[in-house]
């Protein structure tokens, strides 16, 4: 049920993000989702791609520090209150969202959001109990 996310450390300098997308593009890696968390000095780029192994390899070859983290992809109803319902369930159970961002494409008419939880297993079973679709890693990559 987990999705593997790749993260890259970037200095806050012009052109660094383009360098990453260039490397991935040259390697024919497709980006499914991404987010950037930034500070005044540096940023962390988080990516869901269609080929993790290849992406990790080409980024490392180009001198980037690459990390791997498990995240959860969740279907969210594309209507008012869709996200709120999910967050309410998690909040009641005391599960913390470290960060979240959304996939570029829709699935089954739903938006797909990527979550990083402090308690992944707890979050996944809780969401399932509440009838919320958690999307499998392989499915996210091939969407």
């Amino acid at each position: 049920m987990r999705v593997e996310q790749i993260s890259v450390f970037l200095e806050n300098k012009a052109g660094r993000l383009a360098e990453v997308t260039g490397i991935l593009s040259d390697a024919n890696v497709n980006i499914r989702a991404l987010s950037v968390a930034d500070t005044s000095d540096f940023g962390v780029l988080r990516l869901i791609v269609d080929d993790n192994a290849k992406a990790e390899r080409v980024l490392k070859e180009n001198g980037f520090s690459v990390g791997k983290t498990s995240v959860v992809a969740v279907e969210v109803e594309d209507k008012p209150g869709g996200l709120h319902r999910i967050l309410s369930i998690l909040t009641m159970a005391g599960i913390n969202v470290e960060y979240m961002y959304s996939l570029v494409v829709q699935r089954n008419g739903h938006s797909v959001l990527v979550f990083r939880f402090d308690n992944i297993d707890g979050a996944v079973s809780l969401l399932k109990e509440n009838g919320i679709t958690v999307v499998d890693g392989s499915k996210v990559q091939s969407m």
């Binding site: 996310q5 993260s7 450390f9 970037l10 200095e11 660094r16 968390a37 930034d38 500070t39 000095d41 540096f42 940023g43 962390v44 988080r46 001198g63 980037f64 520090s65 690459v66 990390g67 983290t69 470290e98 960060y99 990083r116």
Partner: protein, 433 residues
């Protein structure tokens, strides 16, 4: 004013007589009371009785900062602890500080020499001395303080920091002498301006600046911004503290070394060969009156030259020119001695940080700013920004706790630090001194 006419203007021949006698006594005491000196002399095949004239000094072996460190904390003391009344310490190269001790007589001698120094710098009875050198293990604050009291001046023991309050005190108390590091003095001028005050309206006549090297250009700047006459003071805790050498305000051209207490030599730092007057090399000191912590041919690592020409002030003591650099990699940041190796040992405490780091020193608004660039390798990296920020904060805090100097830690991409021949360039000093 020359405080001690007898010693400070003594003819050179008489001075040398005194130096030889004091040197003989110091060498003998060091040899018999400090195991390190005895072993060091034996290694060089010399005994204390080889000192017949000043020329024999060069036959003695050098003492280095590493020797002091190896004998941490009290191994270099030449008197029993019963007779040590004061301990000071400065930062060392690998974490352990360099510890120095003083007998009651040493403290008295130091106060006398500091009084001489303050007097040479234009201070006297009736002056109010605003002493912004740090008080504590650092010798600056207490050294000036005792000298000021000995001189009979009024001393404000304000120490470093709390700059806005210092401006208020300067305005209200009307001090006439400022003692501080030159960079802090310039910072004071800026803060004064920020709060709508000006040194123009203060009563300062002289500023006695030391604990870090400064240039003639900086003298001009200090004099223009602080409306005072700026003079240089030199010292290091291993030799005594401030008051080893002092510029006279009459000439402002080199610092008179108090040669009745300290014998200077200039050596080639590579070969150890003694260089004649006028040539530039590493300054070496031998103390000849200290009881608790005598030093014999101590290598300061400061680069300068000696000038024996008579001075218009009347002092006969040789002058050292302003220190122009170091023969090792020590940095002086806001008066604090920092060795890159000390920062490295802090970074070693964090998994995955060393050896990929770089120190950058800038002078921003006249204050030294130390930045530490740390490469984020796989081990340090996290996809969560707050974890990375916490790590940077922790590194910064440890540097502060351990070295007493604030550092801004900046995380950079791996392999982004410039390397020369595969080795990262450790230190970039952008300060223009």
């Amino acid at each position: 004013m020359i405080l001690d006419i007898g010693f400070e203007t003594m003819p050179r021949e008489d001075l040398e007589d005194i130096q030889v006698r004091r040197l003989q006594a110091t060498v003998e005491r060091a040899y018999y009371n400090v195991p390190f000196y005895r072993a060091n002399f034996e290694k060089s095949g010399v005994k204390p009785d080889i000192i017949k004239s000043m020329d024999d000094l060069k036959r003695l072996p050098f003492t280095t900062k590493a020797d002091l460190r190896d004998n941490y904390p009290f191994g270099m003391f030449a008197v029993p602890m019963d007779n040590v009344v004061r301990i000071h310490a400065s930062s060392g190269t690998t974490g352990k500080p360099t510890v120095v001790g003083y007998t009651a007589r040493d403290i008295k001698t130091w106060a006398e020499l500091m009084a001489r120094a303050l007097s040479a710098g234009g201070a006297g009875r009736g002056d109010i001395i605003h002493n912004a050198y740090g008080y504590g293990l650092f010798t600056g604050g207490l050294g000036v303080h005792y000298g000021a009291e000995k001189l009979g001046a009024s001393v404000i023991p304000v120490s470093g920091g709390n700059t806005k309050r210092q401006i208020v005190l300067m305005k209200d108390f009307g001090p006439t002498i400022l003692t501080s590091t030159p960079s802090y003095a310039l910072h004071l001028a800026e803060v004064a301006e920020e709060v709508g005050e000006s040194f123009k309206n203060f009563k300062f006549k002289f500023g006695i600046f030391g604990a870090e090297p400064w240039s003639e250009k900086m003298r001009t700047e200090l004099e223009e911004k602080l409306y005072l006459s700026a003079v240089d003071i030199y010292g290091l805790s291993e030799v005594m503290g401030p008051g080893v050498a002092m510029e006279c305000h009459e000439a402002k051209k080199g610092l008179h070394i108090f040669e009745d207490h300290f014998i200077p030599e200039i050596i080639n730092p590579e070969t150890g060969e003694v260089l004649p007057y006028g040539e530039t090399g590493e300054l070496v000191f031998t103390s000849i009156t200290k009881e608790a912590f005598p030093v014999i041919r101590y290598r300061t690592r400061d680069i300068t030259s000696l000038n024996p020409e008579p001075c218009i002030c009347g002092r006969t003591h040789v002058r050292m020119n302003k220190v122009s650099g170091r023969s090792d990699d020590m940095l002086i940041i806001r008066g604090v001695n920092v060795f890159p190796s000390q920062i490295e040992s802090v970074l070693m405490g964090f998994e995955g940080v060393a050896p990929h780091y770089q120190l950058i020193v800038d002078r921003i608004d006249n204050l030294d700013v130390l930045s530490v660039l740390v490469e984020v390798g796989e081990k340090l990296f996290s996809d969560e920004v707050k974890i990375l920020q916490d790590e940077a904060k922790k590194i910064s805090k440890n540097i502060k706790d351990y070295l007493g100097v604030s550092a801004k830690v900046t995380l950079v991409e791996s392999k982004s630090i410039a390397r020369s021949e595969g080795k990262a360039v450790r230190v970039v000093d952008n300060r223009k001194i």
